[in-house]
Symmetry: C2
Subunit: 350 residues, 2 copies
């Protein structure tokens, strides 16, 4: 459903940690939003959100909500996307889905605009936004891959609690207060709301994000492995991951080790590449203690890269430390950025 | 200076985070301590410590303190060790030094008893206790190295604030309270007391531990690289490290990736090895969400290992997650364990 005087945009899950940021990112975007349709569960229907200086009433997300919608941004959980994204696409909306529901479907482009914007041409109504920890990593590695080729990635994550939602962030704060007051903290959400056991996150790290898979990797780890190969369109790329949650509210950190396909490359070459790359901010000046930190990335759209070093023992091996706001570039911003790319490529018309 | 009815043991830096734990570990040890000599800076002289049901008066550490001392445990910083450890050794004491002052000296054994206890035979009065993050890693990897050979280690650490001392732990707590109360937290110690800039540790990770070196690695990272090769006595072993501080008071976590020298090894083989290894506790049952966590390792002497997985793309590559109390196995306990080994090997006499 094309409109001549702007876009009708639906945001599904508009009250969540990512949904609220989707509105913020839309506000700051040159996308010509004519009408906003804020959607959520029945519980939130009737409440209002402010967007573009106007109040908009939240409606319950239903199949018929998507009539006359040009773009539907989904971030209300996998089951909502599975049910409603096909309904939205069928009604002519282009869906940009922030859940893992369709990411590995052959017919669904999995897009980080800095890496594979052109994959958008192959969409059939649904486009998937990758996993937060994957997005910031591939955005930082793509310039290196283009220049030197990439053979291998080994990543250890330092992921923020915000990836598990607003209630998980509140749990971290509550637990932290309890520990400081000498009380026994209660754990009801982290590491994974739907899993059997819950552990204290305050003053602790938890090496489990999402559910365990039959191969003993977590689903989060498998997302990083499989999505990276799909986004970079390289089935031969070796990727392995360990995902750990740390007691930080927002922004993921990643210790990333890569092997490139070219010898005689120095860390200064990689720094030069990244200092000029789209969406990347190089923060790498050890002499002045300049490196990315999670607390500094909050609220920023960019991916911050630093601590770039050559492996002293392996000619083509490099370390780096990659940080980004997991709710923005890892979710809301990347989704809005995809919408901007659709417009730019002529795949939607305003 | 040998004694016939027990050992005279000096503890230098007895009031610090590690020193207090050295006393605890000595209490629990079968070492026959006849006389304790608690030493510290002038500031603490005259204060008392309780050990073996008796009070002992802290004296100022001086060269002549070490007359008639059999074992001197040092943990009062590198400059104190550099000045006083040779004085103690000259007076006949066997020094077990927890600082980095002598670790890479050719004449100084660098010992983790589970790995290279026999290196103690080569001591010349000073024995070095390795860096905390190195100890727990090599203790966990040694059984694997012995069984299959080890080609490569890539480690990313999640290190506790306690490694920077008791004042750093207090800073984390103070900053955390300030953030929760909406105040601007002050940073005066972390990441490195002696470096120029200080950053907020509360609700943040800092990818700097110890000072930066000319090659852009931190000294902590270079310690892990060089000490691992020395302890395992393998200059060909490839080791690379990224060291990150997380807002956790005590116990280091480590995401360790290894490549072994043998094919067709399964993660079940490695789990079987480690379930039976000295000083190691295997905590690896994903179906029941069993894995090591920092908060559970506090106060324990063992090294906890879990999340053991084979790299899906690399035949001989494996991940694991290693956690231990950095103040115990990483410092106080390993030092006392070295003293026990000296006695067992007949290198000191009680």
């Amino acid at each position: 459903m094309l409109n001549t005087e702007g876009l009708n945009v639906a945001v599904v899950g508009v009250t969540g940690a990512v949904g609220t940021r989707m509105l913020e990112m839309l506000e700051g975007s040159p996308l010509p939003v004519k009408k906003l349709l804020p959607l959520a569960s029945k519980r939130s229907a009737g409440k209002k959100v402010v967007f573009g200086g106007k109040e908009w009433i939240i409606a319950e997300a239903k199949p018929e909500s998507f009539k006359n919608i040009d773009i539907a941004l989904f971030s209300a959980g996998g089951s909502v996307s599975k049910e409603l994204a096909p309904e939205a696409a069928e009604r002519g909306a282009v869906v940009i889905d922030n859940t893992s529901a369709f990411r590995m479907d052959k017919d669904v482009p999995l897009v980080v605009p800095e890496v594979n914007e052109e994959a958008l041409h192959g969409h059939h109504g649904i486009i998937a936004n990758p996993n937060c920890s994957t997005i910031q990593m591939v955005a930082a590695l793509e310039p290196i891959r283009q220049a030197y080729g990439l053979n291998r990635i080994i990543v250890s994550t330092y992921q923020a609690v915000g990836g598990a939602g607003a209630k998980a962030m509140a749990e971290l704060e509550r637990q932290t207060r309890d520990v400081l007051e000498g009380k026994q903290p209660e754990a009801a959400i982290l590491p994974v709301k739907g899993d059997k056991k819950h552990y204290q996150m305050a003053f602790n790290s938890i090496p489990q994000i999402d559910m365990f898979q039959p191969n003993d990797y977590t689903f989060e780890e498998m997302k990083m492995i499989n999505e990276t190969k799909k986004i970079m369109d390289d089935r031969q790329l070796k990727v392995s991951a360990t995902c750990v949650r740390v007691p930080v509210p927002i922004s993921h950190g990643e210790s990333v080790y890569i092997e490139i396909n070219k010898n005689n490359v120095e860390s200064s070459d990689i720094k030069a590449l990244l200092s000029d790359a789209p969406g990347i901010v190089l923060q790498d000046d050890p002499a002045h203690q300049i490196y990315p930190m999670q607390m500094n990335a909050v609220g920023k759209k960019e991916v911050f890269v630093g601590r770039i070093r050559k492996d002293p023992d392996v000619e083509n091996g490099f370390h780096m430390w990659i940080v980004s706001d997991n709710l923005l570039k890892g979710a809301a911003w990347n989704s809005v950025q995809i919408a901007e790319s659709l417009l730019k490529l002529g795949l939607i018309e305003a």
